[in-house]
């Protein structure tokens, strides 16, 4: 059985571990064996975004050492994959050996829905959900990685589910990491618009592929529209899997 290495973002590790568990479960369902290197910590995004390049370099080197020998690496986060794919080679550009390793790794790292659909060629993961869902196109997933059709294919394969249009689906939700806390007025205005678009879409559920967006939109909904839910696509697909044999 093929092995795939799972990279769990720090946000998921600390706040949303069920997304990680869902990702692992889906990969098993798709017929691969997920492995998890316990030495992993964080891709370094917070440091590079704050301008702390030296610290980010250390994080990058640690990451490359942990994942460097893996054939393929998968993560349920577009921004983290972007960080490794695009920022690591540039970050380490002055150290040719590290840069080569970074460039090499950048060819082998995928966002989860991208990996399932494009690499494993799986769209139906056996989920079923009666209802309407809308999909938020996270910035790093859509513009960073060019991933948009893959999540939608996975959603359309879910029995009973109708994917409804979301107004301004590709508009930024206002997370931006530190941005949300440092410029709360602007961030709130953006997430309020996103929530409003969700509410007016008629969807029962909002789905997305980015833990940061999930914390932002989910946090706003929790405080202001408690009944409305937003889920990571992995959690959605794993949670609504039709019951299997409980053979294990």
């Amino acid at each position: 059985m093929d092995v795939v290495s799972v990279f769990i973002p720090c946000t998921v590790d600390l706040f949303l571990p069920h997304i990680g568990e869902a990702a692992v479960s889906l990969l098993r369902r798709a017929g691969v064996k997920p492995i998890y290197h316990t030495e992993q910590t964080c891709c370094g995004q917070p440091a590079i975004n704050a301008g702390y390049r030296e610290q980010a370099k250390k994080a990058a080197k640690h990451f490359i050492q942990v994942f460097g020998d893996d054939k393929e690496v998968v993560s349920p986060s577009g921004s983290c994959v972007c960080m490794v794919k695009y920022h690591y080679p540039e970050l380490l550009s002055e150290e040719p050996e590290w840069r080569n390793r970074a460039e090499e790794l950048s060819l082998r790292i995928y966002e989860l829905s991208q990996y399932l659909v494009d690499i494993l060629k799986v769209e139906d993961l056996g989920a079923s959900f009666e209802g309407k869902v809308a999909y938020h196109e996270s910035c790093h997933v859509l513009r960073g990685l060019g991933v948009s059709e893959q999540p939608k294919k996975l959603i359309r394969a879910v029995k009973g589910t109708q994917l409804v249009p979301l107004n301004a689906a590709d508009a930024c939700c206002g997370f931006g990491g530190e941005f949300a806390n440092r410029y709360p007025d602007i961030s709130e205005s953006m997430v309020r618009d996103k929530a409003g678009d969700y509410l007016s879409s008629g969807a029962d559920l909002l789905l997305l592929c980015e833990p940061g967006c999930l914390l932002n939109i989910g946090g706003f909904l929790s405080r202001n529209h408690p009944g409305k839910k937003v889920m990571h696509l992995a959690s959605f697909l794993a949670q609504y899997q039709k019951t299997m044999n409980n053979g294990q």
């Binding site: 301008g51 513009r143 709360p184 602007i186 709130e188 953006m190 997430v191 929790s222």
Partner: protein, 482 residues
């Protein structure tokens, strides 16, 4: 123009209260128009990429292209003046006006003339200035800064323009019909054009190959400014130069589509020097003022210089989710939106413009839209890194001690997974103190910005690390049993 970049947050907050619904609706409208116009290219993606290559070459060869431009402009009979800084540029133009006994000048829209404070310098020296671009005319009468680099008065309601015209330009019939109001402005400005002896305009492209000045516009006022007075002054910043006429024409195609969704603006005018001796019409002298104002210093930074590729199309403003919320005033100076966020910090220094390269989610819309291929998010990260390292060339300011300590601790934890896991376990009880039904509404007064309107899930009792290790132990034990 007065620098208010340090008031970004307060002004943004104030502007958000106004809830500019027109901005969001307008941005959508403009987006569709832009996409429709771009689709008239056989391959829009290639056309945009080609524009990026032209601008990349222009910046890479900037010094030699500027010299080539000067040589050919001089050969065309133009005069060329190199202005080191804002003061030198505006004082030179004041001197030209005084020498020629000029009482007033008419102006075509030019962001660089706002950058150098030209209007203020002229007025101070007894030369009246009349902006003739309708939007600029309106904000000049109102005394407010531009709201958008292309449409400086898009936020001014029609009723306010009507009242302004009644007060300032003797509007006879109080009408709210925009066409009638435009007509009233036209009549008023016609009078100014009639007797103008010195016209000042900006430059869209300066063609090195031929020494040509290219302007695009929809109103015709720039052409009037250039061709009817005795003296034409064209003001440009260094980066306006392009290698060839073919390059300039391709950029004009991109500029118009990206800017207003037009395949071509209503007027495109090109000047190869002043009126020749056998020509009937045209200015007797064409004086080109080339403004540096810190750009050759910026040019030394091979990453930052990418910001100079900008062709001022304004598409990044229309596509920016932050600009669409706050409008142009918050950016605090001449250039607003993402292009202002990459340019102002270079011209004013990183310390004065802290918020401009931080008030962004790095969503990448600007980068994906830009016909000049500017990677704004990369530049924002570059400025942040330069700021943290206290770079002198870019006039940075080192960050507070607490922040530097935090990232040092973070770095230790990130490279030592046991320390990371231990740190998580240590911090969890403090973070989760106020948790209620698995959600946090506050964390000891920290992250107030977040918690004002958002909850956060409590830190999970078991991290993914913990869950995995447990599952492995269970599986191992069950395997042993079998």
């Amino acid at each position: 123009m007065e620098v208010k970049t340090e008031q970004f947050s307060e002004v943004a907050k104030e502007e958000l209260r106004k809830a500019y619904t027109f901005l969001k609706a307008g941005a959508n409208f403009v987006r569709i128009r832009r996409e429709t116009a771009l689709s008239t290219f056989p391959d829009a993606t290639a056309a945009q990429a080609y524009g990026a290559i032209i601008r990349a070459e222009a910046i890479a060869r900037l010094p030699e292209l500027l010299e080539e431009f000067e040589k050919n402009a001089l050969a065309n009979g133009a005069k060329v003046f190199w202005a080191r800084d804002a003061n030198e540029a505006s004082q030179y133009i004041v001197r030209l006006a005084k020498e020629r006994g000029i009482k007033y000048v008419t102006k075509g829209k030019s962001m660089v003339t706002e950058e150098i404070g030209l209007n203020e310098a002229l007025e101070k020296n007894g030369v009246k200035t009349w902006e003739t671009d309708l939007g600029e005319f309106i904000i000049q009468l109102l005394g407010v800064p531009p709201f958008h680099i292309v449409g400086p008065a898009i936020n001014i309601p029609v009723a306010k323009v009507r009242d302004l015209f009644i007060e300032k330009i003797d509007l006879k019939e109080p009408t709210s019909d925009p066409v009638q109001l435009g007509h009233a402005a036209r009549i008023f400005l016609r009078d100014k054009f009639h007797r103008v002896d010195m016209g000042i305009a900006g430059v869209n492209m300066a063609v090195a190959e031929t020494g040509t000045i290219v302007n695009v516009e929809n109103e015709g006022n720039i052409r009037f400014n250039k061709s009817s007075p005795r003296t034409q002054i064209s003001v440009m910043s260094l980066e306006k130069v392009v290698p060839t006429l073919e390059d300039a024409l391709h950029l004009v195609r991109l500029l118009c589509r990206n800017c207003t969704g037009q395949k071509l603006s209503v007027y495109v005018s090109m000047d190869n020097g002043p009126k020749k001796s056998d020509e009937m019409d045209g200015p007797e002298e064409l004086i080109i003022v080339i403004v540096d104002n810190g750009r050759s210093r910026i040019y030394q930074d091979t990453i930052a210089r990418e910001a100079m590729r900008c062709i001022r199309c304004g598409a990044c403003l229309n596509g920016c989710p932050v600009y669409r919320q706050i409008g142009g005033y918050a950016y605090g100076w001449v250039y607003s939106g993402p292009m202002g966020q990459v340019l102002n910090p270079l011209l004013l220094g990183l310390e004065k413009t802290q918020d401009l390269y931080r008030a962004t989610t790095l969503c990448g819309s600007c980068k994906s839209i830009c016909p000049a291929g500017i990677d704004h998010p990369r530049l924002f990260l570059h400025y942040r890194a330069k700021d943290v390292s206290g770079d002198a060339a870019l006039r940075a300011k080192k960050p507070p001690m607490m922040e530097r300590i935090f990232f040092r601790l973070w770095m230790w934890a990130v490279t030592r997974y046991r320390l990371w896991n231990w740190g998580v376990r240590f911090v969890r009880p403090f973070v989760n103190k106020e948790a209620h039904e698995g959600m946090l509404r506050e964390v000891g007064g920290l992250f107030k910005g977040w918690f004002r309107s958002r909850d956060l899930p409590a830190m999970a009792k078991k991290t993914f690390h913990d869950c995995w290790r447990e599952t492995q132990k269970t599986e191992f034990r069950s395997q042993k049993r079998q």
